[in-house]
């Protein structure tokens, strides 16, 4: 049944492209991201970068002369009904080979079982590894942040040895909760017990009361379990409330460029692992940053880099499963992928057996508003 529809899809594509050589084919990638609604700040830069990546790949005849990638990009408004509809459509109508999904891990967990029914691979950057357990068709583009936090925790134990560690995290976001556990767990095991544990909501902006409370506890280190802009604001308000300017800050890969931009001088001395480093001199990164700036009139952020990298991985998987790529082949290709070119971390993306990829993120520290490798 599916074989037939696949065949029909190819015939249809052939009919549309009737004037081209017979070998020419279109391979569809579907992008299902939140372009409106509260998570649009993630979805829009991702979708922008996806579009740019597809155009670049097609311009360079990445899949071979005459072949091209067709992008179907849709807005799910971070809404269950819509994402379910769009995934079904991607699989059954657009005959997409792979879906580039959204960043909301709760939603990804919710729709992962649907991927089993539809038998279509989806790759996205959910904040936790949890969706992996729900479906073999779900893949992660970024390393799960819990795992990125582990080297950071080790670094803190070995080098910083915080005596008065305060932890703050978003209590209504599972990613923040898991990251906090991944960080505080190893430290507590080594005897570095927190002197304060506070929670916030991801919609909070006013940390006046919290900051005053934390400042009164006189911490020498703070764990920031928050998104980039929110974490930066938190730091600014902490310092305004009287937290020492020498305080050491810890955070996750999520912090990235926005954190530095919003936080300015206040976020010096932040230790974090990083997904996208806008200071990277890797030629692909440089080209990506220039092209993105030119096309969208704003420098790329973490999310844009994720979207771009997803597309690179998806395209590479299609290429690896030529000729006649199928969804199973694409999934296999990603499962076996080694050293794919991306703009994350060190620039080379490798899938691992536990389906959590590696791309050489390292512990970085902010000095003069720039992330540099921590010594």
């Amino acid at each position: 049944m599916r074989g037939i529809s696949k065949l029909r899809g190819l015939l249809l594509a052939g009919a549309v492209l009737g004037s081209f050589p017979v070998a020419a084919a279109e391979y569809t990638i579907a992008s299902v991201k939140a372009l409106t609604g509260p998570l649009a700040f993630v979805g829009v830069p991702e979708a922008n970068a996806v579009k740019m990546a597809v155009d670049e790949l097609n311009a360079s005849n990445y899949l071979g002369a005459g072949n091209s990638i067709k992008l179907v990009s849709n807005d799910d408004q971070n809404d269950r009904a819509q994402i379910t509809t769009l995934l079904t459509r991607a699989a059954k109508v657009d005959n997409a080979l792979i879906v580039l999904g959204g960043a909301n891990s709760v939603l990804m967990i919710a729709v992962a079982p649907l991927l089993n029914d539809l038998q279509i691979p989806m790759i996205s950057t959910a904040q936790t590894a949890a969706p992996l357990a729900a479906s073999k068709w779900y893949l992660k583009v970024t390393a799960s942040s819990e795992l990125q936090v582990a080297p950071l925790a080790q670094y803190a134990i070995d080098k910083i040895k915080p005596q008065r560690l305060a932890a703050i995290w978003g209590r209504d976001n599972d990613g923040h909760i898991n990251n906090m556990k991944a960080f505080m767990g190893p430290l507590a095991a080594k005897g570095f017990k927190p002197i304060a544990e506070e929670t916030i909501l991801i919609s909070d902006t006013d940390f006046g009361a919290l900051s005053t409370k934390i400042a009164a506890a006189k911490p020498d280190a703070v764990w920031l379990g928050a998104n980039a802009a929110q974490a930066a604001n938190l730091v600014i308000q902490l310092k305004q409330a009287g937290v020492s300017s020498n305080v050491v800050l810890f955070g996750t890969a999520g912090l990235g460029v926005d954190y530095l931009k919003v936080g300015g001088k206040a976020v010096e001395n932040t230790y974090f692992s990083i997904d996208y480093n806008d200071q990277s001199t890797n030629p692909m990164n440089v080209r990506f940053a220039q092209n993105y700036q030119k096309r969208f009139n704003t420098p790329p952020d973490n999310w844009a880099a994720v979207g771009y990298s997803e597309t690179m991985i998806a395209a590479r998987a299609i290429k690896d499963s030529m000729p006649n790529p199928t969804r199973e082949k694409v999934l296999d290709a990603i499962m076996k992928m080694k050293g794919a070119d991306v703009v994350l971390g060190g620039g080379k993306w490798t899938q691992k057996a536990d389906r959590i990829p590696e791309y050489g993120p390292a512990v970085m520290v902010v000095r003069n508003n720039k992330p540099v490798p921590a010594q």
């Binding site: 409106t36 807005d75 269950r80 819509q82 379910t84 509809t85 709760v106 967990i109 919710a110 729900a134």
Partner: protein
């Protein structure tokens, strides 16, 4: 072609769920109770079913029945303190109730899974189950609306004092409305649990409540067809607006304003009223010509 139909199947499923919640919301509004507590009962039903079916292996039908009962009890309990309040005050009190349920679901994360939600719920409900549930609900809504209860609700909504002086016990009928509304919300909350693999606290928060209210006010408060139309509009609207890409929300917003401006009673109820007036006018004309 068949594939295109398949594509819209999930949309149809969510539409059916929306109709269920819409009826829960309509039940109270129809009786003149401005409660927006349905979200809270749906949450209770959904979590109950999810937990007992997945963790304790309870039979799904039994679980759904208990969820319905929980909704009844919840509605009954909430109706007692709210009997004194009316209008916006009732709305805000029930909003507080919904927010309390959400924050408790976040707080007791060992039971509910907290913000990560309660996941890997077995999917035991499909389109046909939902369709059957909605059809049965429509039957009940129709029967109730044709019964003395329905007439009492209509009377209380339009003028409570008149209703009371005609022998309608406000307290009793408001309580009935709360109980029925809670039952529907609890039941469809449970259905949603068994349909969507996973639930999370915010699913039953402010957005849910605004959506349920929108279905009714847009569709109509006084008829059985109204909520179906309202849910249909709100389910199809995002799809219709899809080609507008970035401007989707703007378009949705404008359309909501326009519809309410032209049909302040709701699209369907407005239509019924309009037809009634036209028919009355036509009959008047005939009568005058005859005399």
């Amino acid at each position: 072609m068949m594939n295109l139909v398949y594509t819209y199947q999930p949309l149809f499923d969510y539409f059916l769920l929306a109709v269920g919640f819409a009826y829960s919301q309509q039940m109270v509004l129809r009786a003149g109770v401005f409660s927006i507590g349905s979200a809270g009962f749906a949450s209770i039903g959904a979590y109950f079913v999810a937990i007992v079916v997945k963790d304790h292996g309870m039979n799904a039908i039994v679980a759904l029945l208990i969820a319905t009962l929980l909704g009844c009890v919840g509605g009954f309990l909430l109706s007692i303190p709210l009997a004194r309040l009316r209008g916006v005050f009732q709305a805000i009190a029930t909003l507080a109730f919904v927010q309390i349920v959400v924050s408790l679901c976040l707080y007791f994360d060992e039971l509910t899974g907290g913000p990560q939600g309660f996941n890997n719920i077995p999917k035991l409900v499909g389109t046909w189950h939902l369709l059957a549930a909605v059809l049965v609900t429509i039957y009940f809504m129709y029967v109730i609306s044709r019964s003395a209860i329905g007439r009492a609700f209509d009377a209380l909504r339009q003028d409570e004092t008149v209703g009371a002086t005609l022998g309608i016990s406000i307290r009793k009928y408001h309580m009935i409305a709360f109980v029925l509304s809670g039952a529907l919300a609890g039941f469809f909350g449970g259905m949603q649990s068994l349909y969507t693999f996973s639930i999370e606290p915010e699913m039953f928060g402010f957005t849910f409540l605004v959506a349920a209210l929108t279905y009714i006010i847009l569709g109509g408060r006084g008829t059985v067809t109204g909520p179906i139309i309202g849910a249909l509009i709100m389910s199809v609207l995002p799809e219709l607006a899809r080609p507008l890409a970035d401007n989707r929300q703007f378009f949705q917003g404008i359309l909501m304003m326009v519809m309410i401006a032209f049909m302040p009673h709701g699209v369907f109820d407005g239509l019924v009223l309009h037809l009634r007036k036209r028919r009355a006018a036509a009959r008047d004309k005939l009568f005058k010509e005859a005399h």
